[in-house]
Assembly symmetry: C2
Homo-oligomer: 347 residues x 2
DNA sequence: GTTAGCACTCTCAATAAATGAGTGCTAACA
DNA sequence: TGTTAGCACTCATTTATTGAGAGTGCTAAC
């Protein structure tokens, strides 16, 4: 038995219908709503075949058919047409995205919000992992007698700083020297490299004052580096799942909420995902609690290197085509906005 | 009819029982579980009185009684004993809180996490509002030919910065001048004051290069100030509501989720609340969706001035006493940790 | 190969009956 | 006069029953 054209057509119609109604679809409905040119009885026969082949399932004898995970996979791989967003929608998304450009993190967060608004699903956006980010500039700035600010700037434009209140007064000259010393030592190193370096050796000098100062500063420096390495995960549209019939059941809603509440695990899972546009359906997801969900993610780049992720999570029944397009459009825009030339240019 | 001692005793028992079981409590249960020294029949008579006085309600004729909002208010005002946390618990909370002190924001976020873990409710923590925070130091730092970093330090130790990529190269001397100029202009002003100042006038000079540079820098400066004004709201324990019988109903769970999803509104409501430990029960809350919830908040101080808030939201049936104690203990610790002397000291 | 017809299956909603927790009232008691 | 035992009554909740409706699978005719 093979998947002839009519079977494909019927399968596609079933997927289309089920995706928008969330109800098992019967042969009569199918023949009325879609121009298949055959009678319900014929459709029934084909459906029986499709079921035998594993593309359809039956909640119970007298219910209509619904697509199996295998069907969605087939759809995504073979049948899904690239959905081209209408220019008007593109414009409105881009407008919205750039309305509030400031920090990268804010933009990313904003992208998640836009995505959940459009898709009516739960969206997430991960800031880039920065282990390959290179330190460019380290500075210790005098603020007042006992306060200094430690500032770290990386190649990608990420700035981290921390106000340090010292127990004793410091000497401005020593501060300048330490600052230079640190820049000299760490400039050009990636954050991960810097973290593994032996601190005591690196900044040790003959000067007592310097040693004292660096003793106070270095722990904070290392902590800041660690902080810089952390990726942030923004989520939006959490309450959207309540609009989805699949989750009109307390237990399932609960499961879902618990899943996305385990942010650390979720972030880890995201980091491990391949780059580019990636769709995983149901049991294709490793996480047990995610096995009746689908996940679509895409990557964006900052400075051509650092990689962050953007995506949605929802029931396996979703508009793969449209949603993928929106995600791709957003990641493309993020990538363009944060090119090497900086985020201020229009081109 | 007055609230004699026996009535109070019975009321207290009902509150206690209902708070822990979430089930309407009947006269028989009451007389068996609590040492009231009277028979169920007598209790029934007293309960009828209490109901008439508005302290109890009846879901339906043949159900037990449950405390009304008025009863909780009475309890909170008059009957609630100050719950002293056992030293062991204090220690473990403090340990946990200080385990990861770095940035203020992280600590605040962490406090919310601890709070939700202990109370099994949804907790939130608001970072201080900074409108009274005074600008102390503004600096423009050269990073590379076209990149500068704008740094703003405030009295309270908050540092904000932004990497700016310029379209043209800049002159380091001009940069230094502008930096001095800006510090001179804005130092000592509160952030809100700075935002209302007329920018064009403030930095205008005769130098063309300077004007050009400041034209690029000032918008970012203002945006950074705005960002600094924004308070952040961290929430934790969102899924805890699923453990609460009151929300074992999709509609109510949904309502709750939507309520806390409207973060902006929620933040506004929090800002408007009075300082100190504040308990609002049911309809005492202004927000319509919050009228079958109770809210407990307390304030913490940073530098003796800036005020942030910490609290929980849950069903009106909650352990007011214990929870208040935990919140107070946490806010006290936050206040102490961020005194004028800085957060690094142990004392 | 396709289709009409029909018996059969199973869910879902509505209705009815049984259960049980708890009250309110009355009358007796200390 | 306050307290208590007893008992009828109420009402939510659970369980069982029934009927309607949607949809299939199979058979026989086209």
């Amino acid at each position: 038995m093979d998947l002839n054209e009519r079977k494909l057509k019927i399968l596609q119609a079933i997927i289309q219908d089920f995706v928008s109604t969330a109800e098992p679809v019967g042969s009569r409905t199918l023949s009325k709503k879609y121009e298949l040119g055959v009678s319900p009885a014929t459709i029934r026969n084909e459906m029986a075949d499709l079921e035998e082949m594993g593309y359809l399932t039956h909640p119970h004898t007298s219910a209509g058919r619904m697509p199996s995970q295998k069907a969605y996979r087939l759809y995504v791989n073979e049948m899904m047409k690239k959905h081209e967003l209408p220019q008007a929608e593109k414009d409105s998304i881009a407008d919205e995205l750039y309305k509030n450009v400031s920090e990268l993190d804010r933009t990313i967060e904003h992208a998640a919000k836009i995505l959940s608004n459009i898709t009516n699903l739960t969206s997430f956006a991960m800031t880039p992992k920065k282990d390959q980010d290179v330190l460019k500039f380290i500075n210790l700035l005098p603020v007042d007698e006992r306060t200094i600010v430690l500032m770290i700037v990386s190649e990608s434009g990420k700035v981290s700083n921390l106000a340090l209140k010292l127990k004793t007064e410091y000497d401005e000259e020593t501060l300048g020297l330490l600052s230079k010393n640190m820049t000299y030592t760490f400039k050009g190193k990636t954050i991960s490299e810097a973290l593994t370096m032996d601190i005591i050796d690196t900044v040790h000098t003959d000067m007592k004052a310097m040693n004292e100062l660096s003793g106070t500063v270095m722990p904070s420096f290392m902590k800041s580096l660690e902080d810089m390495l952390n990726v942030n995960l923004y989520m939006d549209g959490l309450t959207n799942i309540f609009k989805i019939p699949e989750y009109n059941d307390l237990d399932r809603a609960k499961m879902f909420m618990e899943l996305i509440d385990r942010k650390e695990d979720f972030t880890k899972a995201l980091i491990q995902r391949d780059d580019g546009l990636l769709i995983t359906i149901g049991t294709e997801n490793d996480d047990e609690q995610m096995q009746d969900c689908s996940l679509i993610t895409a990557t964006y780049h900052v400075d051509g290197k650092l990689v962050g992720k953007l995506g949605v999570i929802g029931p396996t029944r979703m508009r793969y085509s449209e949603i993928s397009s929106v995600i791709e459009f957003l990641t493309d825009n993020l990538t363009n906005a944060y090119r090497l030339t900086g985020g201020d240019d229009d081109e």
